[in-house]
Amino acid sequence: MAEKTIGRDIVPPDLVAKITGRARYAEDFRAEGMVFAKMLLSPMPHARVRRIDASEALRMEGVLGVLTAEDVPEVSTPSEPILTMEPVYEGEPILAVAAVDEATAAEAVERIVVDLEPLPFALDPLLSLRPDGPDARLEGNIYHIDDDVREMRTHKWAAADFDGAPEGRLPMGEPAFDWSIGDVAAGLEQADGIVEETLIHQSLTHHPMEPRSCMAYWQNGKLHVHVSTQSAARCRASLAGMLDMDMEDLVVVAEFCGGGFGSKITAHPTMAMTALLSQKVGRPVMLRVTRYEENYIGRARPGFQAWAKMGFRSDGRMTGLDLYIVQDQGPYGRSGDAFTAATVASLTYQPEHMRFRGVSVFTNTPPRSAQRAPGGAQIIGMLEPLVDKAARELGMDRVAIRRLNAPASDGWVGPNKGSLTSAYPKEALDKAAEIFGWEERIARSGQTNGTRVTGIGVGLSPFVGGSTGFDGLLVIRPDGKLYVHQGIGNLGTHSIADTARAASDLLDLAWEDVVVVWGDSARHQPWSSVQAGSQTIHAHTRANHAAATQAKRKLQEIAARDLGGSPNAYEVGDGRIFQRSNPGRGMTLARAAERAIELGGAYDGHELDEDLHAMTRASATALAGTGLVSAAKDTYPHDGSTWSWVVGMAEVAIDTETGALEIMEFTGVADCGTVVHPRSLAAQIHGGCIQGFGIARSQKWVYDPKWGVPFAKRFYTARPPGILDVPLSPRWGALDIPDPQTPVGARGIGEPPVGAGSAAITSAVADALGGECLCRTPLTTDVILAAIEGTEKPYRPLETHV
């Protein structure tokens, strides 16, 4: 028997390429005759283009063409266009120029005259909600969606809503959406202790290391694009949609992705822009996106201005949770963060009664999208310090109060009180407390050493951990190797390899005999989940397990056909298919592959299951005849939603004379089902938590309110955490309790750590400040020092983008 690969550290198949410079990311490709594109970005937060004069630029030697909004597909408000005549944020692309070299393209852009008429702009949702407040869009400031209506609307609150609110408390006018469980008023009525706070969470750019550069060319009627995307197969589908073309005419090469965190889930307008510009000038085009541009077009997490009121019984049980979220929507689309935030809160605390109200307001700031734990990271980082406050008032241990309210597998989630596949947050809290040494450390809470005071924090953070119903595609070739075709992306989670283990283990193959095929759509991909929302390990261990099960059955049938007996009498092992009763009687998988080709039909992919997605069918058909082809859809039963959990515990030290914050110790413990790849899991936990640290302590946006333009648009002003801003030796753990409703038992883990990391820090800082919740992120040096010194705070109570 070959050693099972699940639960074992392996060397990812792409690692050596990554550290020898051979791994090729989008900007590393060249094509014969390749030219360069540069974008002209709007200098105004909101404007109307009155006139574009590119004549001087086009007269320049080497300038090949200009692409404007006139050349791209129209989209309906509030969707994001590829290029625009009404820029709605500073930095939005208005046009793109192609030239034989990048310097010429840059000079050409500077010579294009764009006459812009400034329009009113809004940076702060609360200002836009004022009766006389500006709207970010000419069509209004919210996008209304209900069962029968989807339209832009102007949503304003009454002056009384603002005047009535006590200084510093979130004004709460008419919400745009809401839901309730039970009667929150009654719930708060029953409470022995109440905590109430206004909470401010910043918007922040994803800033993956690799900007979304793109290279595109047209060849023989096909569009070839080299892109940076999280999800290979799904990027191809959405880009085809964006360009209104058939998927067959589109080759997407996405072998490596330099990080996405939700900003590169599928196709991005710049991909279509590059393709269309290439089409227009008849040359391969490279759009080299810079960090400066990435800040504008690279997506961001929506900020919240929120208010929460929690009621607790004396035993610590949460009787009521009243939540109001004003969401900074950015200029386009409709972000689900606020909804998810409420759902996550309901799951984490299982309140007996809950009410959620919210409004998502358009602003003239860069487009938002999911950012690792969208909504979840914000709300957990914001609410956990309130739970601490309640624990203090009730004289309870802060782990205990979380343990008490957290759900077990029979818990519920969301407005419809949906069920869970399984959940072990209580156990995760126990394990974290043990690894972190909660009991010993909590004794140091608030103690000072010289000018440094210690704070201990804890955060409990769930997030959706998987989807279902995708396809797996495998080929056992005459070389005896198993080829696992992956349509998911490769952004460093190692999912391309780890989800393949479901197949290799089931077919009992040595890992060396497994070949993972990924990244290039010309190499035949199955219909796959997006590589986002922690779906992949769950969705594709299932899909590959289904395909491997089908492959095993085909092997058994081939063996039975050639060697007699019933298929069920045969077992796979060590690269062979053999009779259980007489292991000597069997054949190698190599031989079986040859036989499959000879037999044809279903065995070598000429006949396929009916329920496969068109993309999978096309890929399997292309592979037909190359070996034993197995293509199957994940139809395993799945009841309830799948959530993973991470507990973060941190010890921080705050210098009371400077406000400097140091994270001394950190422990992250996950409940994410079966552990497939320990080292990679640890990396996901720590990496996610570190992004949480960035949210909690340093990363931010800064906008000048007069001009509506940003300043914190570079790394040194946006301040993502560096290696010296995090603990030297963080610890981790995982429960490794399989989820009963998925074959391999693995749940996703990408998202939950972010909220855990953020909350552990906001909680620890509040603890160090004697329980004072600053209720705002990021907790930068100046914010902390102002709190300690009692000087004027560096921000107004509800101020955003500072």
Partner: protein, 212 residues
């Protein structure tokens, strides 16, 4: 939206909004002109070379090879490596000395290649990620350490980190974990894989001690 005047040639033309016409044109590869980032002065409106200014055609010592290359006065080393010498292992994450993805070794010392002119390194030994492994493919101790520890996630930062690790083990083959962190503090990892990266660094030091 109202009509917008758009002048895309010598004379003005007014377009009104129209829907996108589906269809693809077979473009293929047209005239070969792979000068990439920069071309001759004609396209750069560069003044005729002033007396005493640098010669454009220079020899660079990259990964042990002498490479003749035409370098413009304002060209950064990262651009020369990536677009003139085809060494795309050196990444550009910010182009502003704020992320370290472009880190290369100059005479064994780690520098941001995005923030130095190629002309500043004439006659100096340039080592990029491509030049780290031995000719026979044997990995550099640092690279081997990364393989041993399964380092990096998206790995866009990896070439830069690896080069900084190489510089570190050359000067301090027996660092504490904290010293290693300081040696690598000029490289950013947005995946937040710092713990594993430090494990790699410590392992790299260990390997370089044993192989040395």
């Amino acid at each position: 939206m109202d009509d917008v005047e758009i002048i895309l040639d010598a004379g003005p033309k007014t377009y009104s909004r129209r829907t996108f016409i589906k269809g693809v044109i077979a473009a293929g590869a047209a005239v070969s002109a792979s000068g990439y980032l920069f071309r001759g002065p004609g396209l750069l409106s560069a003044r005729p070379t002033a007396q005493g200014s640098v010669e454009r055609l220079i020899t660079l010592s990259v990964n042990g090879q002498q490479r003749r290359v035409d370098v413009l006065p304002h060209e950064t080393l990262a651009m020369t490596l990536r677009y003139k010498l085809g060494l795309t292992g050196t990444k550009l994450g910010c182009d502003r000395a704020e992320c370290g993805a472009c880190t290369v070794l100059i005479d064994g010392v780690n520098h941001y290649s995005c923030s130095m002119l190629t002309h500043q390194v004439r006659g100096r030994q340039i080592t990029t990620i491509e030049g780290l492994a031995a000719a026979d493919g044997t990995l550099h101790p640092v690279q081997q350490a990364v393989v041993d520890e399964g380092g990096f996630q998206c790995a866009f930062c990896a070439p830069g980190f690896v080069m900084s690790m190489a510089a570190m083990v050359a000067t301090n083959p027996d660092p504490t974990r904290e010293e290693a962190a300081h040696a690598l503090s000029g490289n950013l990892c947005r995946c937040g894989d710092y713990n594993k990266i430090l494990n790699c660094a410590m392992r790299a030091a260990e390997l370089s001690r044993t192989t040395a």
